[in-house]
């Protein structure tokens, strides 16, 4: 068994950067083929490789972190279910996962019947008091998520892939099956909207102006 493959199985979400680098080295297609054939280890490795990214995506898109966890699990369960019929193409495997994820989120909100106002207290699931810095971080995250939720599904996905996952325009275009021009154009509109939405927030408005204190 390939050693790097074994290592990959042990990655945690916060080690994603490392895992990413490794993922480039490993043959994802080969892993997918193995998973398609029912190889449990390959499934576990695929989960380890992509769970961090999918969870981050869900954390931004779901109303609460608990929902994000559930949705992440659902995406990978769908992956397991869909693998037998998955066709290997030039489109990266990751793109397939993101598509499952986007559909899952949409279904989730459809079932919920409405786009809920993100409730700050609801998402703070920790019972232990957090250090100040962490609270500030969490607040920034909440504010951003709230603003993001005002955007269309597609805009959210584009912004998350571009700036949280740091994908190139080309990669995003491939994941969304769109042209580069369309992605750039959508990104432009999405950022304009986000800037306006964030501008309503006093603290963030100050930041957006781009001046240092």
């Amino acid at each position: 068994m390939d050693l790097p493959l074994l290592f990959a199985a042990f990655f945690r979400p916060d080690e994603l950067a490392e895992a990413r680098k490794l993922a480039e080295a490993i043959d994802i297609q080969q892993l997918v083929q193995r998973a398609k054939a029912g190889d449990g280890e390959a499934v576990a490795i695929l989960y380890r490789l992509f769970s961090g990214a999918i969870y981050r995506y869900m954390a931004f898109r779901a109303p609460t972190l608990t929902d994000a966890e559930d949705l992440t699990a659902e995406v990978f369960i769908r992956m397991v279910e869909g693998l037998p019929s998955y066709q290997v193409t030039e489109v990266p495997f990751e793109a397939w996962l993101y598509r499952i994820a986007a559909v899952r989120v949409a279904d989730f909100y459809r079932q919920l019947g409405r786009r809920p106002e993100t409730d700050l207290t609801e998402t703070m699931i920790d019972d232990e008091p957090l250090p100040e810095e962490q609270i500030a971080q969490q607040q920034a995250f909440e504010a951003l998520r709230k603003a993001l939720h005002q955007l269309s599904d597609e805009y959210q996905t584009i912004l998350l892939l571009r700036f949280v996952e740091r994908k190139s325009h080309e990669e995003v275009a491939r994941i969304l099956n769109k042209s580069m021009t369309a992605v750039k154009s959508a990104q432009h509109r999405a950022l304009n909207q986000l800037t306006t939405l964030l501008g309503a927030d006093q603290k963030i408005r100050h930041y957006l102006r781009g001046r240092r204190d």
């Binding site: 050693l3 790097p4 290592f7 042990f10 990655f11 945690r12 979400p13 916060d14 080690e15 490392e18 680098k21 490794l22 029912g38 190889d39 449990g40 280890e41 499934v43 576990a44 989960y47 769970s51 969870y55 981050r56 931004f60 994000a68 966890e69 992440t72 699990a73 990978f76 397991v80 279910e81 037998p84 971080q137 969490q138 920034a140 995250f141 951003l144 998350l160 571009r162 700036f163 949280v164 740091r166 190139s168 325009h169 021009t181 750039k184 154009s185 990104q187 432009h188 950022l191 304009n192 986000l194 800037t195 964030l198 963030i204 930041y207 957006l208 102006r209 781009g210 001046r211 240092r212």
Partner: protein, 589 residues
């Protein structure tokens, strides 16, 4: 529209400049508010998935996988297309399943003592009866083990600790292991291993939780003991830990505690050019291979390496696994408190699961696995703190990926001053001090940033990262390095730098068998011994041999280097085999 397009294009360019794709760097601020919004997004991280949740989700996914590929022999057949003959049978099964499913939601959540628990038990018996093959039975028992742990957890939440349920879990694991072995299916064995690890770590997590909730040690100990027994006697199917180089228990050795400078078992044959021989396995002293060349630095400090510690006579007091958390599960594990610890596994967390594991604190630690976290799982593992550490396992010999730091300053000897078989991640070898024996660095570390041992006198095998995977590997820093592996002898591709200035002797001062990438041999200094100063078998890339200085022995340059820019050793006194490019590939002249 055109205006929008050109604006979108301009913004796209500006964004690529401020936040280059594929990088993690985030700039402070720009004067475009839209770029600032993007920067804000790039900077804001959602809270990370906790290891427990991550593990739970993986468990769910694997359960879904098992459900989907339930029997190894009949993979996918039901899903893809069902032959007509099977249709009727399927319909009949469906009725049973629906009936059962009606009861499941109620019974599944039940625990011993509940009204529906007998239903659950009955269903499980049915499940086992329906499992025709060994493989299916192994899977069923695994599921049952997992359920028992879940039940124990629910009970614990109600303030009860039921040793019976926990033992039943262990029993199910045992049976599952037996069935999996009986099936003889390597794929299944692998899967059962993976699942057993998960269940076993849930098990230990449960015990920790129970302990935290005030369940008495008297109640917990028997259960913990039986788990430990099952783990150690091999009844459970667990993946074999990376083979530690020459297990100390098999090493007849001196009965005295290892000390720097003492002749030890690292007198192994130097790696022959092109050989796959990796320090730590086939090249061990019991190997029949004969040395092809005597490293000139051999005498300097051949060290009591692997196993030195286990040969430590059991001093008065502690023997066995007395003071750490030998098989601790995930979480924060701290080893034993200050003091003098000896014997096996006595002061660290030898087989600890993922999490933050810290070895034993200050003190004098000796014996095997005594001061670090020899087989710790992924996470932040720190080896033993300052003090005098000897024997095997001063660091995190087989630690999983993550940030692993070897033992702290002090005098470290024996095997494993660093993170010999650590997985990928940032691995730092032992810090300044006198390090001797095998594994001053990260001999078999996986890919990542691996730094060898810090300045100081490093001797024995593995001053650097002998078999490190791809990544940035730096050999040991300035100081006196001797013995095998001052650099990154068999390092994978990446930027590999051999040991820096200083006096380097013995085998492997450079990157003898390094993969492709930028490999630099040793810097100026006095270099001697085999492979010590260049990159004898380096792959393609920019390979530079040793710089001016006095180089002797085999491998002053890049004798068998692949294509690329290969420069041999520069002026100086170079002697022995391989002063220049040797049989170098298609390099520039």
């Amino acid at each position: 529209m055109t205006e929008h397009h050109s604006d979108a294009e301009r913004l796209a360019r500006r964004l690529d400049q401020a936040l280059p794709p594929g990088e993690t760097r985030v700039p402070q601020q720009s004067n475009d508010p839209r770029v600032n919004a993007a920067i804000l997004l790039a900077r804001t991280r959602p809270p990370a998935l906790s290891p427990e949740t991550d593990q739970r989700i993986l468990g769910l996914v694997m359960a879904a996988h098992r459900g989907h590929f339930s029997d190894n022999g009949a993979r996918l057949t039901l899903r893809r297309r069902s032959p007509v003959v099977l249709r009727g049978l399927l319909a009949a099964c469906l009725v049973v399943v629906l009936l059962v499913a009606g009861l499941l939601p109620v019974s599944a959540a039940s625990v011993p003592g509940d009204l529906f628990y007998p239903v659950k038990q009955a269903l499980e018996r049915v499940e086992l009866a329906l499992a025709m093959t060994d493989a299916a039975q192994a899977q069923a028992h695994l599921r049952h083990a997992s359920r028992r742990i879940a039940e124990a957890r629910i009970l614990l939440d109600r303030g009860q600790f039921d040793a019976g349920v926990v033992n039943a879990a262990l029993n199910s694991l045992r049976v599952s292991a037996r069935k999996a072995r009986a099936s003889g299916d390597p794929g299944l064995i692998d899967e059962v291993q993976a699942q057993t690890v998960i269940v076993a770590s849930e098990f230990t997590g449960l015990l920790q939780q129970a302990s935290a909730r005030g369940v008495s040690t008297a109640d917990l100990q028997p259960v913990a003991k039986s788990l430990q027994m099952a783990v150690s006697d091999g009844t459970l199917l667990l993946p074999a830990p990376p083979e530690p180089t020459s297990p100390p228990t098999h090493t007849p050795g001196p009965t005295s505690q290892p000390q720097a400078g003492e002749p030890g078992q690292q007198d192994q044959p130097p790696i022959a050019a092109g050989s796959d021989c990796a320090p730590g396995d086939s090249c061990q002293p019991d190997s029949t291979a004969t040395p092809t060349l005597s490293p000139t630095g051999e005498g300097a400090s051949r060290q009591s390496g692997a196993g030195g510690g286990a040969d430590t006579p059991t001093p008065p007091g502690q023997q066995g696994n007395p003071s750490g958390n030998p098989n601790a599960g995930p979480g924060n594990n701290s080893g034993s408190p200050p003091g003098s610890n000896s014997g096996q596994g006595n002061s660290g967390n030898p087989n600890a699961g993922p999490g933050n594991n810290s070895g034993s604190p200050l003190g004098s630690n000796s014996g095997q696995g005594n001061s670090g976290n020899p087989n710790a799982g992924p996470g932040n593992n720190s080896g033993s703190p300052p003090g005098s550490n000897s024997g095997q396992g001063g660091g995190n010999p087989n630690a999983g990926p993550g940030n692993n730091s070897g033992s702290s300053p002090g005098s470290n000897s024996g095997q494993g001053g660093g993170n010999p078989n650590a997985g990928p991640g940032n691995n730092s070898g032992s810090p300044p001090g006198s390090n001797s024996g095998q594994g001053g660095g990260n001999p078999n570390a996986g890919p990542g940033n691996n730094s060898g041992s810090s300045p100081g006198a490093n001797s024995g095998q593995g001053g650097g990262n002998p078999n490190a995977g791809p990544g940035n590997n730096s050999g040991s820093p300035p100081g006196s390095n001797s013995g095998q592996g001052g650099g990154n002898p068999n390092a994978g591709p990446g930027n590999n730098s051999g040991s820096p200035p200083g006096s380097n002797s013995g085998q492997g001062g450079g990157n003898p068998n390094a993969g492709s990438g930028n490999n630099s041999g040793l810097p100026p200094g006095s270099n001697s011994g085999q492979g010590n100063s260049g990159n004898p078998n380096a792959g393609p890339g920019n390979n530079s041999g040793s710089p001016p200085g006095s180089n002797s022995g085999q491998g002053g340059g890049n004798p068998n280097a692949g294509p690329g820019n290969n420069s041999g050793s520069p002026p100086g006194s170079n002697s022995g085999q391989g002063g220049g490019k040797g049989q170098g590939g298609n390099g520039n002249t």
